[in-house]
């Protein structure tokens, strides 16, 4: 069965504090326990309390990648600030809206979708229960509609609310039951999700996945400053990294974070930081220092809407330019992007390994969509002994020349990097241009030699087939990167089913550009669609700079915070090929 055959897209909304996100998390966990896959995206306002919040779910018996084009159901606990997320929840005449009859004034922006509205007295029902909660009544309603087993739901409620005490759990269960028992005269267009699996699955967010990948890669030191939407990555890491012999420090700012990471990595401990756009801007100079002084490190950037403070709580792919070109001078480094949740683990792990091998910073471009969504995914393949792969750095334990040649130029262009504590190998790492011993130098030949060396270590390295995920073949191709790859792959599946096969090339390694490899993949392609979530076509311009593209190229570039959906990509491809798909 394809993922296209039956998926349910549900939105649960309410003002901040209404418990919409809690319902979303619980519903995802209940669905997962009953053998389903799914995702839950979060769209919240900037306020801590009282703003808008929306849990956006898509459930299926098959693995789900990104969001669908439309929603089957919207459950709204109230309509405060509904205009702020209305565009993110596309409804149509086949959709259902469940509204609390206590908040009957449904905004026009919602009503104009033509969706059918059902009023249910949620607040009144909650008032009839001691400690009753509207959101748990809503959860009961949804579980009944989706025909999810109620004993599983009760288990999830109990475990989620374990710390709240027995009275709260009892009230939640009573509320849940009231919702589940509510006599409804309506059904979802595609009611029960059949075909649940017993296969091993994980319930994980992209931020957790990047953090896990970093630990698997060998990261044992983290310094970082809180920033939305990267904070929960750090909050997952902090209590765990210290249990495996590492440490995480909350620094005074991002300037300190990146420089602490540089210091720790200079000391030989595999190190990283995580941040988002504004923090990446502040780290730009430090990343340049790590490039010049050849210090391995990883920066996970969970991209949010920019520029400036932008939209901290919502997603965009608009930090590509700064990740690629954020340094002054000629500053070759690594830029990688995960394409889905399990790839957050793999790509971050690979980034750590590449940084260590190549002695240079690696920027991992995740985004708010990947980072803060929870996904139920097939359990990833276990990684063999993570601790054994932490030592990829070329370390020299004894000096072969005096003074020690830290920046020795050799065939691989990767020099030995002695760790402090090694006798006879002491050197001063420097952001000043230097000779092969690290001595500051402004001599042209030293500059040229070291520029060549820092470039060559990246261009001479064989990155293998992981630079991209390539699927399908034929003269029509879609080129994408990062989180929008998920919608692209689903679009490709829909097109395949309608007899229009397309090739998909999703680039994982953005820098250094893999020109020969991509051009090989584009050899037989005559029509190309480029998909990205940015306003100024950053990805397309990057492609134009580094690769020879087919004559006919169409760009589908849309800024955040609206998700790129499979249907939009199918339409864009239709426009490109000029025929009905």
């Amino acid at each position: 069965m394809s993922i296209l055959s039956c998926t349910q897209s549900l939105a649960v909304t309410g003002s901040g504090g209404s418990g919409a996100i809690t319902v979303g998390n619980m519903l995802l966990q209940i669905a997962a326990s009953s053998g389903l896959y799914g995702i839950m995206r979060r769209s919240v306002g900037p306020q801590i309390r009282g703003g808008e919040s929306a849990a956006l779910l898509r459930l299926s018996a098959q693995p789900v990648s990104g969001p669908d084009d439309r929603f089957d159901l919207l459950l709204a606990f109230d309509w405060l600030n509904a205009d702020r997320f209305a565009l993110e929840i596309p409804l149509d005449s086949a959709s259902l809206i469940i509204s609390d009859s206590a908040h009957s004034e449904i905004p026009d922006v919602i009503l104009q979708s033509g969706a059918r509205v059902i009023q249910i007295p949620l607040q009144q029902m909650a008032a009839d229960i001691s400690g009753g909660r509207v959101n748990m009544i809503g959860l009961g309603l949804l579980c009944a509609l989706l025909e999810l087993p109620s004993e599983l739901s009760r288990t999830v409620i109990r475990s989620t609310l374990a710390s709240k005490g027995e009275a709260a759990i009892e009230a939640a269960l009573q509320s849940f039951d009231a919702g589940a028992r509510y006599e409804t005269s309506f059904q979802l267009p595609c009611p029960a999700l059949q075909g649940g699996t017993t296969a091993a699955r994980w319930n994980i967010s992209g931020n957790e996945a990047c953090a896990l990948g970093a630990l698997q890669g060998g990261v044992r030191f983290v310094a970082a400053y809180p920033i939305t939407p990267a904070t929960d990555l750090l909050e997952w890491l902090a209590p765990r990294i210290e249990k495996i012999g590492g440490s995480l420090l909350q620094a005074e700012d991002e300037l300190a974070s990146i420089n602490m990471v540089i210091g720790a990595s200079f000391g030989g401990v595999c190190s990283m930081t995580a941040t988002s756009g504004p923090g990446l801007s502040l780290m730009a100079e430090g990343i340049g220092l790590a490039i010049a002084s050849e210090i391995p490190l990883v920066v996970v950037n969970v991209t949010r809407g920019g520029p400036s403070t932008g939209i901290p709580t919502k997603s965009e792919q608009s930090d590509l330019n700064i990740a690629l070109y954020g340094q002054h001078g000629d500053a070759p480094h690594l830029v990688l992007a995960p394409q889905n949740i399990s790839d957050c683990i793999q790509t971050t792990r690979w980034a750590v390994q590449l940084a260590e091998i190549l002695q240079t910073p690696a920027i991992v471009l995740s985004d708010q969509f990947l980072g803060q969504s929870r996904f139920v995914i097939p359990a990833p393949e276990p990684v063999v002994d993570s601790d054994s792969i932490a030592r990829l750095r070329q370390i020299q334990h004894s000096a072969s020349a005096t003074p020690y040649q830290r920046y020795l130029i050799n065939d691989s262009a990767i020099s030995p990097m002695a760790l402090p504590g090694t006798a006879g190998c002491s050197y001063t790492a420097d952001g000043l241009e230097h000779t092969c011993t690290g001595k500051p130098s402004s001599i042209a030949t030293d500059h040229h030699d070291q520029l060549d060396k820092r470039q060559h270590k990246l261009t001479r390295y064989a990155f293998g087939t992981q630079w991209a995920e390539v699927q399908g073949s034929g003269p029509i191709a879609i080129l994408c990167w990062g989180s929008s790859s998920m919608a692209v792959l689903e679009a490709a599946e829909r097109l395949q089913q309608s007899g229009q096969p397309v090739k998909v090339i999703a680039i994982r390694l953005l820098a250094p550009a893999q020109t020969a490899a991509l051009e090989r993949e584009l050899q037989d392609v005559s029509q190309l669609l480029v998909v990205e979530q940015s306003h100024s076509q950053q990805f397309y311009r990057y492609l134009r700079a580094h690769y020879a593209l087919p004559a006919q190229v169409q760009v589908y570039a849309k800024p955040g915070p609206l998700a790129i959906t499979p249907g939009q990509i199918c339409q864009a491809l239709q426009a490109l090929s000029g025929e009905s798909i």
Binding site: Q29, A32, S33, A200, R201, W202, E208, L212, L215, F221, A223, R240, I241, E242, K243, I244, G245, S247, L249, A251, E252, D253, L255, A256, I258, N259, M260, V261, I262, G263, S265, F266, G267, G268, S271, G286, G288, L289, S293, V376, A379, P382, S386, P403, P420, G421, T422, A423, G424, C425, S426, Y427, T428, A429, D430, G431, L432, G438, K439, P440
Partner: protein, 273 residues
């Protein structure tokens, strides 16, 4: 090997770029004497700096070193110390690097109290960019075309600010008193926590009037105290031109405790549905 010969082994072959008469030569020399006195193994020693004349110092030593970017010596030093607590880590730099562009790190390094030594060579001027006012420059100094009317801003008070920010070792040294400075550096390295030394280090090129400091600097007229209130009173009564150990307190040095009590595999199990 006599002490002087031993001290010399901590110097590298790189020739300093400093001007003749620069106070930083004496700081370099005092550092190496302190290392010799403490018999530090230079493989276990790292000196970290930012940008400026005085920040060139690590290259002139035969220990491990890091010459980073402007203002960020302390975070690099902190990261290294956290990663490798067994190393002796010293951060050094100038007044612009430490108190202006790196001011925030200075505050937080004082309160974090990692076991580091921070030596600031203070000459009240930006030398490398050819003579602009620094945070410690007097408000009526008009010799820089960048501030033709003087800064008009009260100078930064390094020792008082370090005290307020929670530093556990605060001293002031003078490059014209190499023996006193060596002693302070020894005490600072031995201090189990963040040790801050402001060294009055004249710039003969852009602040030639500082050549007179040798007649102006006196000994700090009090024995060191561990009472912050007393230290504050003394510092506010002081003209900033006295040298000695001002404040030392045994706040516990901050360190991260981590022991292996779990495996990554256990974290993975948390995700299983």
């Amino acid at each position: 090997m006599n002490d002087l010969a031993k001290a010399k082994t901590y110097k590298s072959e790189v020739k300093p770029i400093w001007c003749p008469g620069c106070g930083d030569f004496a700081v370099l020399s005092a550092l190496t004497k302190a290392f010799a006195y403490l018999d530090l193994d230079k493989k276990d020693l790292a000196v970290i700096s930012g940008i400026g004349c005085s920040s060139r110092l690590p290259a002139y030593l035969s220990s491990y070193g890091f010459h980073g970017i402007h203002g960020r010596a302390l975070p690099v030093a902190a990261g290294l110390k956290l990663a490798r607590p067994e190393l002796t880590v010293i951060a050094s730099g100038g007044d612009g690097d430490g108190f202006s562009i790196g001011g925030n790190h200075f505050l937080h390094a004082c309160r974090r109290n990692l076991d580091l030594t921070y030596i600031v060579m203070d000459n009240e001027v930006y030398g490398m960019t050819k003579g602009q006012a620094s945070p410690t420059t007097k408000p009526d100094w008009v010799d820089s075309p960048l501030t033709p009317h003087g800064t008009g801003v009260r100078p930064f008070q390094p020792a008082a600010i370090a005290l307020a920010a929670g530093a556990s070792f605060i001293a002031r040294g003078f490059s014209g008193d190499p023996n006193g400075m060596t002693k302070l550096i020894i005490d600072a390295i031995q201090h189990p926590g963040f040790a801050f030394i402001q060294v009055l280090s004249p710039c003969p090129t852009y602040r030639p009037e500082q050549k007179l400091w040798k007649n102006q600097v006196s000994s700090f007229p009090h024995a060191p105290t561990d009472n912050p209130l007393e230290a504050a009173t003394r510092l506010y009564a002081d003209d900033g031109m006295s040298s000695g150990l001002i404040f030392q307190s045994q706040y516990p040095a901050w360190q991260q405790t981590s022991a292996v009590t779990a495996s990554i595999h256990q974290f993975e199990e948390e995700f299983i549905v």
